[in-house]
C-alpha cells in the first residue's frame, strides 16, 4: 500500500547540507503495525512527514496504493492527507477551547462530510471516551487527550494512522494503555499503523521494526503478521 523507492530528502542549514533521507526504500502493507526506530536525526520523523504527505521527497518515488504521490500539488496533498492519514503526535496537538467532540469533528469539516457529529461520537466511543465527549483539553488527563487525538485520527477511516512518539508525554502506565489501544486497532479492526519512537518498549507493541540511522534504513524485521498484501485503491470519489 505504501511504497517508497530511493527517497532522498536534503535540508540545508546554513552552509551544511543534511541528508535527512539518503535513498530510502520501504514497503508497508495494509494491516501492518510498523515501528520506525532511530535516534533523533536519524531521519525517522522526516520519513513520517513524507509518508503523511506533510513533506515531499527531493528524489525518488512514493506510491500510495499504486499511485505516485511524490509530485502532487500542495492542494492535492492536503486533500489526500486529510482522507488517507490520521496523525497522532507526542504533544496531543489538540486545539484549545474545543470539546473532545469538536476536536474529532475537525478533519470531517475539511472533508465536507455530513453526519459529522455522529461519526465523531462513534470514534470517541471506540477509544473509550464516551463519557468525556463535551470535555475540553484542559479538563482531560494526558492519556485522555491522546485518546481524543487517536479518535480524531480514526474518524476519517484513514488508510494509515501515523503516530509520532505517541507516548512521549505520558507516564509509563498511561503510555501502556495508549499503546494497547493502538494494538487493538490493528489486531481487531485491521488498521494500519506506523509508529515513530525511540523507545524499545513502545516499539515492542509493533509487529515490525524498521531501524534508521543517518537517513538510511539499517534494519527491517519485515512483515511478520501476515498482513494483507493486496492494496486497495484509494477511493477518490468522495473528494
Amino acid at each position: 500500500m505504501i511504497r517508497l523507492d530511493g527517497v532522498r530528502k536534503t535540508f540545508t542549514a546554513g552552509e551544511t547540507k543534511i541528508h535527512a533521507l539518503d535513498g530510502v526504500s520501504l514497503e508497508i502493507d495494509r494491516g501492518e503495525f510498523v515501528a520506525i526506530m532511530g535516534q533523533s536525526g536519524s531521519g525517522k520523523s522526516t520519513m513520517m512527514n513524507i509518508i503523511g504527505l506533510l513533506d515531499r521527497p527531493d528524489e525518488g518515488a512514493y506510491l500510495l496504493s499504486g499511485r505516485n504521490v511524490a509530485s502532487l500539488s500542495e492542494h492535492a496533498r492536503a486533500r489526500l492527507r486529510g482522507k488517507a492519514f490520521g496523525f497522532v503526535f507526542q504533544s496531543y496537538s489538540l486545539l484549545p477551547r474545543m470539546s473532545a467532540l469538536e476536536q474529532v469533528e475537525l478533519p470531517l469539516i475539511y472533508q465536507g462530510v455530513r453526519d459529522r457529529r455522529r461519526r465523531a461520537a462513534e470514534a470517541l466511543v471506540r477509544v473509550g471516551l464516551a463519557e468525556r465527549i463535551g470535555h475540553r483539553p484542559t479538563q482531560l488527563s494526558g492519556g485522555e487527550q491522546q485518546r481524543v487525538a487517536i479518535a480524531r485520527s480514526l474518524v476519517v477511516d484513514p488508510l494509515v494512522v501515523l503516530a509520532d512518539e505517541p507516548t512521549g508525554a505520558l507516564d509509563t502506565a498511561t503510555g501502556h494503555e495508549v499503546m494497547t489501544l493502538l494494538s487493538d486497532l490493528v489486531d481487531q479492526h485491521g488498521m494500519t499503523i506506523i509508529l515513530v519512537t525511540h523507545e524499545p518498549e513502545v516499539a515492542a507493541f509493533a509487529h515490525r521494526t524498521v531501524r534508521m540511522r543517518d537517513g538510511q534504513i539499517i534494519e527491517d524485521t519485515g512483515a511478520s503478521n501476515g498482513a494483507i498484501a493486496r492494496s486497495a485503491p484509494i477511493d477518490e470519489s468522495a473528494s
Binding site: N49, G52, L54, D55, E74, H75, A78, R79, R81, G82, K83, F87, F89, S91, S93, L94, L95, R97, L106, P107, I109, Y110, Q111, G112, R152, V156
Partner: protein, 417 residues
C-alpha cells in the same frame, strides 16, 4: 469547508478573544459612525442653507452693488456709493419683459426698534408694497405696506415676528407706535405699526426685520438721492415667471443696467436664486467631502488595526494552523478561515458603526450649538459607502495575514508549542 463552517470557526475565534476583538472593532466603529454622522452634518448644513435661500421667495434674481462700488463699511454707509437706484428698478419693470412678473427695490440698514421701555436690534428694510409678494412673506395680523403708502411717504411699519414679540409681548402691536433709531441713534423716527408677519421657520432673516415704505425714509434723508435726483437702493429683486430662463433674463437685465449706467463692465452683481443655491451647495459639498475624508481616514486606520490584529492572531495560532493542515486543511481552507474572521470582525464593526452613526446623527439633529441650530440629513449612500469600505478594508486586511498563514510550514507549526 462550507461558508457556515468557516463562519463558525471565525465567530469562535472572535469570541475567544472578546476584549481584543472589541478593541479591534473600535477603530472601525468610530470610522464608520463618524463617516455617517459627519456627512449627515455636512448635508444638513447644505439643507439648512438651501432652505434659507428658498425661503427668500421663488424664481428670484438679486441685483446688488458690486464689491468695487461698495465701501467696506456696509449698512447705510454703502448707500453713499451704491449706483443702483429705484429708477433702475422701475426701468426693469417697465421694460415689458414677459418673463418678469415683479420688481422691488429696497434699502437695508441696521436699526434699533424701540417701543415704550423695550428695545431690540433689528434690520430695517425700506421698500415698496410688492416686496411681500416677491419675497413670499405672509402677514399674521394687520396688513403689509399698501400701494397707497408707496408714494405718500407714510411713516408706517410692518414688524417681523420676533421684533413684535420682543417689543410688545402679548399686546396687539397694531396701531402702536414703534420708534426706529438710525445712524447709531443720531436720528429717531416714530412709525405706526400696521402689520406683523407670520413667523418663518429656520434661520430666516425676516423674523428680525422691520419693513417701512421707502419714500417715508427718502423724504427725510436727502443724501439718499443721487445728484440727478434718483433714489439710491442697496438691492433690487426681480421675480420671474416660474420656469423662465433666468440666465436670459439676467442677461437682459444686465444689458439694460449697463446701458442706464453708461458702463461697459457691471458696477453691480446679478445672481439668480439658482446661482445662490449652487454656490451654497458647492460650499456644503466641500464641507461634506472634507468631513467625510477626515472620517474616511479614521476608517482606514481602523482597517489597519484589523490587519494588525489578524497578523498577531496568525502568529499566535501557528500551532493551530499546523494541526488544521495535518488533518487535511488546504491552503485555501486556511485563507478562507482567516479572511472570514477578518470579514466577520469588520462587518460586525460596520453594523455597530452604522447604528452609532445614525443614532448620533439623530441626537444632534435640532440641537443648538452656539447660536446655530444643527440640522443633520442622514444619507443612505454614506451608510452604504462607509459599510462597503469597512467590509472591503476588512477583506483586504484579512488577505495578507491569511496568506502568511498558508506559507507556515505545517511541520514546523506542529512542533511549535
Amino acid at each position: 469547508m462550507s461558508v457556515l463552517d468557516a463562519l463558525r470557526i471565525a465567530v469562535r475565534a472572535i469570541v475567544a478573544n472578546r476584549l481584543r476583538s472589541l478593541l479591534t472593532l473600535l477603530g472601525l466603529v468610530i470610522g464608520v459612525s463618524s463617516v455617517i454622522a459627519l456627512i449627515a452634518v455636512g448635508q444638513g448644513t447644505q439643507k439648512g442653507v438651501s432652505d434659507q435661500i428658498r425661503g427668500l421667495g421663488t424664481d428670484l434674481i438679486f441685483i446688488e452693488p458690486s464689491a468695487a462700488a461698495t465701501t467696506q463699511a456696509g449698512g447705510t454707509a454703502s448707500l453713499i456709493t451704491t449706483t443702483l437706484t429705484q429708477a433702475d428698478a422701475h426701468a426693469i419693470a417697465a421694460n415689458g419683459n414677459p418673463a418678469i412678473t415683479a420688481v422691488t427695490a429696497h434699502i437695508t440698514g441696521d436699526t434699533q426698534a424701540i417701543a415704550g421701555t423695550e428695545n431690540v436690534g433689528a434690520e430695517s428694510v425700506f421698500t415698496t408694497s410688492n416686496y411681500a409678494e416677491v419675497r413670499d412673506l405672509e402677514v399674521a395680523a394687520g396688513s403689509f405696506i399698501a400701494p397707497q403708502h408707496d408714494d405718500a411717504g407714510s411713516l408706517v411699519a410692518v414688524l417681523g415676528s420676533r421684533v413684535a414679540e420682543t417689543l410688545y409681548g402679548g399686546i396687539d402691536p397694531i396701531g402702536q407706535e414703534v420708534r426706529l433709531s438710525f445712524l447709531a441713534g443720531r436720528v429717531v423716527f416714530g412709525f405706526t405699526v400696521i402689520g406683523v408677519l407670520e413667523e418663518i421657520g429656520g434661520a430666516a432673516d425676516a423674523n428680525d426685520q422691520v419693513f417701512v415704505p421707502i419714500t417715508g425714509l427718502a423724504n427725510r434723508f436727502r443724501f439718499l438721492y443721487t445728484p440727478t435726483g434718483d433714489l439710491r437702493v442697496t438691492q433690487i429683486d426681480v421675480q420671474t415667471t416660474p420656469g423662465a430662463d433666468t440666465e436670459e433674463v439676467k442677461q437682459q437685465v444686465t444689458d439694460l443696467l449697463l446701458f442706464r449706467h453708461n458702463r461697459s463692465d457691471p458696477d453691480f452683481t446679478i445672481e439668480s436664486q439658482d446661482d445662490l443655491l449652487d454656490a451654497a451647495s458647492e460650499v456644503a459639498n466641500t464641507l461634506s467631502i472634507l468631513l467625510g475624508s477626515i472620517a474616511g481616514i479614521s476608517l482606514l486606520v481602523g482597517g489597519i488595526g484589523v490587519m494588525n490584529i489578524m497578523l498577531v492572531s496568525v502568529t499566535e495560532r501557528t500551532r493551530e494552523i499546523g494541526i488544521r493542515r495535518a488533518v487535511g486543511a488546504t491552503g485555501a481552507d486556511i485563507v478562507n478561515q482567516f479572511v472570514t474572521e477578518a470579514l466577520a470582525l469588520s462587518v460586525f464593526g460596520g453594523v455597530l458603526g452604522i447604528v452609532i452613526g445614525v443614532v448620533a446623527s439623530l441626537l444632534v439633529d435640532g440641537q443648538t450649538v452656539g447660536d446655530q441650530e444643527m440640522t443633520t440629513v442622514i444619507q443612505a449612500w454614506s451608510i452604504a459607502a462607509a459599510f462597503g469600505v469597512a467590509a472591503g478594508i476588512g477583506l483586504l486586511s484579512g488577505l495578507y495575514p491569511a496568506w502568511r498563514a498558508t506559507v507556515i510550514d505545517p511541520i514546523a507549526a506542529l512542533r511549535n508549542e
